[in-house]
């Protein structure tokens, strides 16, 4: 349909970017969402910091407790210390709960808001955006990227925060206990960081290789599964298995490597931390023997030695998630930054007039006054040029005139530009040159909402919505009564088959009406267009095969619908155009012949040939 556009499409098959391009900018923008939830944000931080501080404190309590026990035992002091510890535990539990709760709420609310903004923005994006991006790509931003963001807001943020507090607080306490041993710990930690960084790099480069292998393999699986029946009829099974096995093996090797590095970090960090623990034990014991250190101090210090290295493993784990989430957030913001469909139209519809459905156009004049033009449905194309991409014209110098009650048909081979016409009248795309006049008004001056409310399109690929049959018909006019829904279905010849559905008009349609046949879906979409009672009707015939009986029902339904409206038909079958007032034969974007059926047959041109393609054989 839009070849030029398709070539530009990002197929979305490649691995998605895992690193943000501008982390700082994205973070700042993300933080701006927290300002709606200041309480949660600062409250969350407060409790997380409090909890981590209390946890450091409770480990510090080991020191006096043990010293009390080994030295001169004082029962009163021992009980006091234990009581303080109990109190601290209460603080830890409460602040852990409150901190997590606040963060989770913050995450949910933020993600909720982002989702809402994204959807609202999506509704405002121009059709060209959807034509140039795959659904999968957008869907993935909506689901995976938003999920990832949610996850890291819920967990990574507090994890990183806890880690920072723990490292800073623990170091302070260790310094207080013994600067010398703190130095030893710091050196060991530096070593561990180095190792972690190294493995992290290896892990992420291997992870990228794995992603690529996975993309390659998944692409192959997708393609073969979709074409499995073709594989069967061509005896292609063995060749398919062979190429699959190659990709599968690549994937296996890549994942094994990536995962080895990914998992290895835990035992390495854990055990290096034990090495550090051993050194501290030795050194500490020596200091105790020199009476420079108490056993209680050693107990607390050993505890700190263990807790201070945990954040390194955790942060290095979280960092990847965090980066991936930021990269996702960037994609989300990119969607939000897409420019929306613009509308400078100052001509709006006014009711209580003489036009169709008592409507007319309200034209503001330069002197401040208003001119009223009755809504009729006259359409004029004046030297219209159009291309989806600049330079490649799909339509050239199109001129035509259509009045209410007339049926204008477009015929021509695939790629001649027929379907493009449906995109122009309702301004899904803006023309490059020339003018389209609606009741004498340039459509670029008409408010898009009002413009579209006066026309209905029946598209080639019928799209229905989740809901009942009646809901789907009512989509054309939300306030239609049940009687009007039935009347519209009758007009579209859809009533008969609806009556035979299990629950009639209340039958639920599954996603995109998959439980109806192609023909039935088409009938429903005609009913949906009928109920809107538009001045202009645009019908893009379905290309897929519908059996003759249903085709007859559809064309009868359409004929009834056309009555008293300006109708444009994009014909894919010659049988439906014969009774048109004018037939436009399109070839490479130009109208090469025009006239009614009899005129064109007499001309013995392209139209005649198209028809005679059948006759020639006889």
């Amino acid at each position: 349909m839009m070849k030029g556009m398709k070539e530009q499409r990002n197929t979305g098959k490649g691995p998605r970017q895992l690193r943000p391009e501008n982390a700082k900018k994205t973070l700042i923008r993300l933080f701006s969402y927290f300002k709606f939830n200041k309480m949660l944000f600062f409250g969350g931080i407060f409790f997380i910091v409090l909890g981590s501080a209390a946890e450091i404190g409770i480990n510090g309590m080991l020191s006096p407790v043990i010293d009390t026990l080994v030295g001169n035992y004082d029962k009163g002091r021992f009980i006091t210390y234990i009581a303080i510890m109990v109190l601290m535990v209460a603080v830890i539990a409460v602040s852990q709960y409150a901190g997590n709760l606040f963060m989770a709420r913050l995450a949910q609310k933020t993600v909720h808001k982002i989702r809402e903004e994204m959807f609202e923005h999506m509704e405002k994006l121009p059709v060209s955006y959807f034509d140039s991006h795959t659904h999968g790509e957008l869907m993935s931003t909506f689901t995976n990227d938003v999920d990832m963001l949610n996850q890291s807001l819920e967990q990574s943020v507090s994890q990183v925060l806890i880690s920072v507090v723990t490292v800073v607080g623990t170091f302070a306490m260790m310094l207080f206990l013994s600067p010398l041993m703190t130095l030893v710990v710091a050196v060991m930690l530096g070593l561990m960081l180095l190792v972690a960084k190294n493995i992290g790099q290896k892990s992420s480069s291997n992870f990228r290789i794995q992603q690529a292998a996975m993309g390659e393999m998944n692409g192959y699986i997708e393609e073969m599964m979709s074409g499995q029946k073709v594989v069967k009829v061509f005896n292609y099974e063995d060749r398919a298995i062979e190429s699959f096995n190659e990709r599968n093996e690549e994937m296996r090797k890549a994942s094994t490597r990536a995962s080895t590095y990914g998992v290895m970090i835990m035992p390495i960090m854990g055990n290096l931390s034990y090495v550090k623990y051993a050194i501290v034990s030795m050194l500490g014991a020596y200091l105790v023997m020199l009476n420079k250190f108490s056993i209680g101090n050693l107990a607390s210090f050993l505890q700190y030695t263990r807790t201070v290295s945990r954040p390194i493993t955790q942060v290095s784990n979280q960092l990847n998630t965090l980066f991936a989430a930021l990269a996702g957030a960037e994609r989300i913001f990119r969607v939000l930054d897409e420019s929306i469909e613009t509308d400078e139209g100052d001509v709006v519809l006014a009711s209580e007039c003489e036009g169709k459905n008592n409507l007319c156009w309200k034209l503001p004049k330069e002197d401040g006054g208003v001119e009223l033009v009755s809504l009729k449905g006259n359409i004029q194309f004046k030297d219209v040029d159009f291309g989806y991409v600049s330079g490649a014209k799909v339509l050239k110098k199109i001129n035509l005139y259509a009045k209410p009650g007339q049926k204008i048909a477009f015929v021509g081979s695939t790629g001649a530009g027929k379907t493009t016409i449906t995109n122009l009248i309702n301004r899904f795309y803006e023309i490059n040159d020339g003018e389209i006049l609606y009741d004498g008004i340039d459509i670029r001056r008409i408010n898009k909402f009002d413009l579209r409310s006066t026309m209905s399109i029946v598209l080639q690929d019928v799209h229905l919505f989740e809901g009942t049959v009646a809901d789907n018909i009512r989509y054309g006019r939300l306030d239609a009564s049940d009687e009007e829904v039935v009347a519209a279905a009758k007009l579209a010849n859809a009533h008969y088959f609806i009556k035979h559905l299990p629950q009639g008009y209340d039958t639920m349609l599954t996603a995109d009406g998959q439980n109806l046949s192609q023909g039935e879906r088409q009938l429903l979409s005609i009913a949906r267009a009928a109920i809107a009672d538009p001045a202009i009707l645009i019908l893009d015939e379905a290309t897929s095969s519908v059996d003759t009986r249903t085709e007859k029902l559809i064309s009868e339904g359409m004929d009834k619908l056309m009555n008293g409206r300006t109708t444009f038909v994009i014909a894919h079958r010659l049988s439906t155009v014969r009774d048109s007032n004018a037939i436009m034969v399109l070839e490479s974007g130009e109208i090469i012949e025009r006239g009614d059926h009899d005129d064109l047959m007499k001309q013995k041109g392209r139209y005649y040939q198209l028809n005679m393609g059948v006759a020639e054989l006889e």
Binding site: V233, Y274, L298, R452
Partner: protein, 574 residues
């Protein structure tokens, strides 16, 4: 999950060694706090620097040993886990290749894709986790318990309260949270459904000005998702603080009771310290196990879905010593009846006809008249329920399947091209086809005209599914692909519906003049595509309504006449 275990066979060595290494690592990790206790209680108490250094060095070696074991175990675990996944994926893919059309119809394309991608990956990860976590956690707990008992058995009785309490709490939280998470998932699905609908149907939304309406719909679902998520999360959030609470409560209890023993001189302070370390290790193991169980549940769902594919038996089987060549393109149907699996209704009823080799046959009838079903019996894509189908005088069930399908070229209604070049796609029909043969086939199917207009000709790229071609072009390419097989029978299942009539007529003529020796069967909606066939079969509700030439049927068949008239009115005029 059990059913899939044999796939581990190839990587058995790694699957066995990984947990062993892991256990060794755990042992090293467990011994370290104990050595520390010795340093404090024996070394410091006896003021023995030599002892302290000796124990310290043993600790370092234990840690290094643990690290090496951990690294090896990581590698073995990954090798076994992803090897396991690759084996499953390989077998599953192979299984799908052996599927009949009936099997393929049962599983949808997207469900097969998820099984081969996500489900297999999940299984690999779960296998790796099972080999590591599921071993690490219980052993850690057992060893730590043993150490605690060794150090101070009376004090260890505190675990009799702590462990059951933790397990009970975990169970409680999980059972409470599970239904909420299931509910949350359904809310997520509802939100995604609206997004998907709006992505696909944006033109409808916009042309009916329904943006606000859709926004309202989305808002309602998005709000309900947030509310459910918050409910589910607020339960999960209890988990961590309660576990912390239990851990510290245990530590304080140990300090309390242990403290008294230290004062009494029955316990060393180093022992108390290592005891505290064991407490954290035991409770951490419990948390790890919980996490593992959640992953395992996810894995067993995937395993069930894979097993479903692997357990499916294809009902189309070859006989022993099958016939290896097809004599000619004659076809005969004798008393053929057919019903689809799980359907009681007969899709074909008592079909009888003979087609001589080289004949051109048209088949027409409304949707649901089983035209496609009928011809799928010929290359044995389905097996008849009753009666028999013969090709070249021999029952199709007696043929070597590959031979039969090689000689019966079938152009499917929903046809697909594959990523690659035009030439690569054409070679599906015959791996060894020369450019000349390919061009010839493209000429016959009237595709050469546009293919030759590309600068890169046969090397022109085909995108996935052939989406860079128009419907008509795609159909012409798929017809050429079938012709390259040089078949004895060519079946076109509504394969020219998107081709314009002039081109369609040219294709028909090419068949007549150049492929007069092969049998051609054409299913079509358009009379013009079949009216020049030698004979036309009119199908109605699974039965042959009538057979004959175009002229005969116009007179004899009311169905044919009705179709003809409805399609004629555009051409002849009033």
């Amino acid at each position: 999950m059990k059913k899939l275990l044999p796939f581990m066979k190839k990587y058995m060595k790694y699957a066995v060694l990984c947990p062993i290494m892991m256990i060794l690592e755990v042992m090293a990790d467990i011994i370290i706090p104990y050595l520390m206790a010795l340093i404090v209680d024996v070394g410091i108490a006896g003021r023995d620097v030599g002892y302290v250094v000796k124990m310290g060095i043993i600790m370092i070696f234990a840690a290094l040993f643990g690290m090496v074991m951990g690294i090896i175990s990581s590698h073995y675990g990954a090798t076994a886990g992803y090897g396991f996944a690759a084996e499953i994926r390989k077998e599953t893919f192979k299984k799908v290749q052996s599927f009949s059309f009936a099997n393929l119809d049962k599983f949808s394309v997207s469900s097969l894709i998820t099984r081969l991608t996500n489900d297999c990956n999940t299984l690999g990860q779960v296998a790796m986790m099972s080999l590591r976590m599921a071993v690490r956690a219980p052993f850690m707990m057992i060893f730590a318990l043993i150490m605690a008992l060794r150090i101070n058995a009376p004090l260890a009785s505190v675990f009799m309260v702590t462990i059951p309490l933790t397990v009970a709490l975990i169970a409680l939280i999980l059972t409470k949270a599970r239904p909420l998470f299931i509910k949350m998932q359904s809310r997520v699905d509802r939100v995604n459904a609206v997004i998907q609908e709006n992505l696909v149907g944006i033109r409808v939304v916009k042309s009916f000005n329904r943006q606000k309406y859709e926004e309202m719909k989305f808002k309602e679902r998005n709000d309900s998702l947030r509310d459910t998520a918050l409910k589910a999360i607020s339960i999960i959030i209890f988990f961590m603080p309660i576990l912390t609470l239990i851990t510290y409560a245990t530590i304080i209890a140990v300090l309390w009771f242990g403290g008294k023993q230290i004062v009494a001189g029955t316990m060393g302070s180093g022992e108390l310290l290592s005891f505290i370390t064991y407490i954290t290790q035991i409770l951490m193991s419990l948390m790890m196990l919980t996490f593992f169980f959640m992953q395992f549940l996810r894995g067993s769902a995937s395993a069930a879905r894979i097993a479903e594919v692997l357990d499916t038996e294809t009902e189309i089987v070859e006989i022993d010593n099958p016939v290896m060549s097809v004599k000619d393109g004659s076809i005969s149907f004798r008393d053929v009846s057919f019903s689809y699996p799980l359907s009681s209704e007969k899709a074909l009823k008592n079909i009888n006809f003979e087609i001589a080799t080289g004949e051109t046959i048209g088949i027409i009838g409304s949707t649901g008249s089983s035209k496609s079903t009928l011809i799928q019996m010929i290359p044995r894509l389905f097996d008849v329920t009753d009666g028999s189908v013969a090709v070249g005088g021999i029952d199709v069930k007696n043929y070597h399947l590959e031979t039969l399908r090689d000689k019966v070229a079938f152009v499917l209604q929903k046809n697909v091209l594959f990523t690659g070049t035009i030439r690569e796609n054409m070679k599906w029909g015959n791996e060894n086809a020369t450019d000349e043969q390919i061009i010839n086939a493209l000429r016959q199917s009237q595709a050469w005209e546009f293919v030759s207009s590309y600068d890169d000709g046969l090397d022109h790229k085909v995108e996935q599914g052939g989406d860079n071609f128009s419907g008509g072009q795609k159909q012409r390419l798929t017809i050429a692909r079938a012709l390259i097989k040089s078949p004895k029978i060519l079946i076109l299942d509504d394969s020219t519906s998107a081709v314009d009539m002039t081109t369609d007529a040219k294709i028909q003529r090419a068949f007549k003049s150049e492929l007069s020796d092969i049998t051609v069967i054409i299913i079509a909606q358009r009379i013009s595509s079949i009216q020049h066939a030698d004979r036309i079969i009119v199908m109605n509700e699974g039965e042959i309504e009538s057979t004959g030439s175009h002229e005969e049927l116009i007179v004899n068949s009311p169905i044919y006449r009705e179709i003809y008239e409805s399609q004629q009115k555009g051409v002849v005029g009033q």
